[in-house]
Point group: C2
Chain length 259, copies 2
């Protein structure tokens, strides 16, 4: 029996771009139907270009029934990890994400946290993050996701994973990924929802980070044919979703029909 759903946001609820985004047809209504059904629901995103507050406000503006408390995102997960391990980060992140780290001690850094810094990925900022890392006896690099690239209205952009690889290579270190597809990240989303993996379904557009990651946690996972979905995903050598659906609305139709 299904008791809870985890939804990826960008590419499932809406298509992002430039200053805002556009809801994907049927998704606003699909979220309402999930909530009316009594299923538990969490939004599980790798978004790191804005605080959850700002991100949620954008989605509410598009008509989505969503609140900050329902969102699992990498920055708060990173903050918990930093506190647990006594880590003081040097941040290479988007300006709009910085407030998520307001309560974290950042003096005399002993790790680097990298997110999708976008325009902040300058030559100077990359060299600075590198120098902080290489100056440590044992460099610690936390990466908010490991995406390769994403699409915005003005074209494809390199995602945080590419810059993570640059720093990994330069410092001969392996980054710890906070966010999808990390097992710990899915597990915290499930814990917040109070549903065990075998009673939860992940719905996402990313074959590796959404589908593969969720399945490795013991969840079922559906891939939508919206967002960054590409037909060649259906021939992925390692990952096979439990089902394909055209979009979130169709996924909700099927799930509610089987309950």
């Amino acid at each position: 029996a299904v008791r809870g759903l985890l939804l990826d946001v960008s590419g499932v609820l809406y298509d992002s771009g430039g200053d805002g985004g556009v809801p994907i047809a049927g998704s606003v209504e699909a979220v309402r139907r999930i909530k009316a059904s009594g299923l538990k629901l969490r939004f599980c995103t790798n978004e790191t270009q804005a605080t959850r507050e700002k991100f949620v406000k954008k989605l509410q503006g598009m008509g989505f029934d969503i609140s900050v408390a329902e969102v699992t995102a990498p920055a708060p997960a990173a903050c918990r990890m930093l506190k647990e391990r006594g880590l003081r980060p040097h941040l290479l992140v988007h300006d709009d994400l910085v407030p998520e780290f307001a309560e974290i001690d950042k003096a005399n850094p002993n790790c680097v946290v990298i997110g999708d810094a976008a325009e902040n990925f300058t030559y100077a900022n990359l060299n600075e993050a590198f120098r902080v890392l290489i100056g440590m006896e044992k460099p610690v690099l936390l990466s908010l996701g490991r995406g390769r690239y994403y699409k915005e209205t003005d074209g494809l952009k390199l995602d945080v994973g590419a810059y993570m690889k640059a720093l990994e290579y330069a410092c001969d270190v392996q980054a710890e990924v906070v966010g999808k597809p990390a097992k710990k990240f899915f597990e915290s989303a499930l814990a917040e929802m109070g549903v065990p993996p075998h009673q939860a379904i992940m719905i996402g557009d990313d074959i590796v980070n959404d589908v593969g990651g969720a399945q490795r946690c013991g969840m079922r996972a559906l891939q939508v044919r919206t967002g960054k979905y590409r037909p060649c995903d259906e021939n992925h050598p390692n990952v096979k979703p439990d089902a394909y659906v055209n979009n979130l609305a169709e996924a909700v139709d099927i799930i509610l029909h089987q309950m």
Copy 2:
């Protein structure tokens, strides 16, 4: 018997930094002694921040007896490869290197050439190079070297290898390295000198790119304790130089004494 020497330049002849550099003590005289000895000599560098003309002028200004015809560098090697394979590059390189590609057709690019672009490693330029690559049916990425980082007077800088890794990951492609430690690059330096590998010695400060690369070609290789040399290099898991020397002057002393 030794018949020819390949010399790395930065860190062996001089220490680079900011606008110029400083000759390493004894190196100017050491180059003169090699030339007087009758040994063949070639300068084998991964320098890609300037044309060979400009680079050689800088070294002459420090007192070195060196000419453009004696320098093996990645950009001309890349130009030969581009012509042979009918490749039209999109360039992500230092402004001062662009003239090396003056005679290469760059219209409608079918590959990307990346060098140590320094300040040209902007977010916009990296996204542009990425879009050119990902738009190809089979992306071709040539990288002028694969260094991790280097030191300048104002601190450590990420080298071309880090940015190469970022593009490799984003496009799921393997770059072809032109320059040290590529076997083909050492072989062309040997051919230009007219000396077979077993009669040649490489002298460099980089344990992997100079010493390891040259040894894989069948040459002997000495590591100098100048430039980017670090004591921990002497415990390198995979590479062991044929000998360590304090600097180029000492290397030349030993080699000429044994002739």
